[in-house]
Amino acid sequence: MSSSQKIYALFKKDLLLEIRQQYTFYGILLYVACIVYVLFLSVNEPDAPTWNALFWVNMLFISINAVAKSFLQEGRGKMLYYYSIAGAREFIIAKLLYNIVLMLVMSLLSLLTFSFFLGAPFLDGIKFTGLTLLGGISMSLVFTLMAAIASRASQNAAIMVIMGFPVIIPQLLLLIRISKSAFGEVFKQGVVSQMVFLLIGLDVLVLALCMILFPFLWKD
């Protein structure tokens, strides 16, 4: 099999597993629903800055929960099996693709539930949706590598949070700042696109680091 076929097979396996078990999907859906419901009961319709902050914190927790599972579900024996059939790069690319797809769906779902329950204070819906998707991709990339590192440590779920939070903060700050433009805050000409490019640049950087560093985590 060529490497693209291997990537596709691994990706399909994750997707099929998800469709058959439907554990992550409904788990996260319930998670979002609970968060939004608690927020709805406590703040009803928050103003734009609060909404923005709550939304991104919610995204952060969703991405941790969604991505953490991808490596935690792979036992030692399974990893050994993957090791015998695929290379490190193919494996991580498949994982990244799957996590990106998962996060894209989750981001859209949480955006929908947020706008339904807590109101939609953003002025430019398309822009904010695009930004949510970009944010979902960024977070899934960073947390995939963090999950890969954490899966090598004992008590991995706690370790992943400890490692992941400080690392994601710069991206999260950028996202919150850019999304303010969708809430009608006026920025200097070109600043928003500059920040979006910075975010995409960071994503590319994280992707490159995943490719370079994952092979070292792979061998046990």
Binding site: A153, S154, I159, I162, P166, P170, Q171, L173, L205, L217
Partner: protein, 231 residues
């Protein structure tokens, strides 16, 4: 490690830094006044931190290439000293901010310290604290060395957006943010004059050498502890 000239150089440079830093003439700048002397301490701490973190990453890369355990000890020791320098940088910065950023309009230091630049530096420190938490979570030494080396490289790369890029995009009281038009994210070179430079540059070298010295001592202690494993 057995050469002593650079240790002597470190002592000489630091004695010069402290004596020259407190006694030599400095330009009178608006608000900064005499507190500009903190440049020889505060800025040097952060530069020494970056250099030590850089060395730590170099050893992490070396570990991944050669799988020799001593490189892991090097990387951890340099990261530890770098973190210590970062904390000192924070402390000296707080003192400085206390005298230059607090105005007489009823502000407390607490309100001043919610600064993007300081938060970025805080994140940098948290990232490296996470590195040590990660180190503590392993029982297998080889695994610990490999996995933490990977995280160290990743952490160092993510350090750049948090302390060099993000603070450039947002307004801050710290020199070098937008509106301060010096172009440098950390300090305003326009405030320096040639008299300050003759203390400032030796001070950077002096503090970095001291950091390296502390690190070599830590490395030697670790070597003695792990003697059985290294042979």
């Amino acid at each position: 490690m057995h050469k002593s000239w650079w240790k002597i150089a470190a002592v000489v440079l630091l004695v010069y830094t402290i004596a020259g830093g407190f006694l030599m003439n400095v330009p009178r700048r608006f608000i900064l006044n005499e507190s500009i002397r903190n440049l020889y301490f505060h800025v040097c701490m952060w530069l020494a931190m970056m250099i030590l973190f850089g060395v730590s990453v170099a050893y992490s890369i070396k570990y991944l290439r050669t799988q020799q355990y001593k490189h892991d000890i090097y990387a951890a020791a340099f990261a530890g000293t770098g973190l210590f320098m970062g904390l000192l940088g924070y402390a000296t910065g707080t003192i400085w901010a206390n005298y230059t950023w607090v105005t007489d309009q009823g502000q407390s230091l607490g309100t001043i310290l919610k600064e993007p630049k300081l938060l970025g530096a805080g994140i940098a420190i948290l990232i490296y604290c996470a590195y040590f938490v990660l180190r503590g979570s392993f029982t297998d030494i080889d695994k610990r060395a490999r996995v933490t080396a990977v995280y160290n490289i990743f952490a160092f790369v993510m350090l750049f957006p948090s302390i060099w890029i993000i603070p450039r995009l947002v307004g801050s009281l710290h020199p070098g943010s937008p509106g301060n038009d010096s172009g440098n994210p950390a300090l305003n070179f326009n405030d320096l004059d040639s008299q300050m430079r003759i203390v400032f540059y030796p001070a950077i070298i002096g503090w970095t050498l001291l950091g390296v010295w502390i690190t070599t001592l830590k490395i030697r202690i670790q070597f003695l502890k792990d003697k059985a494993m290294l042979q």
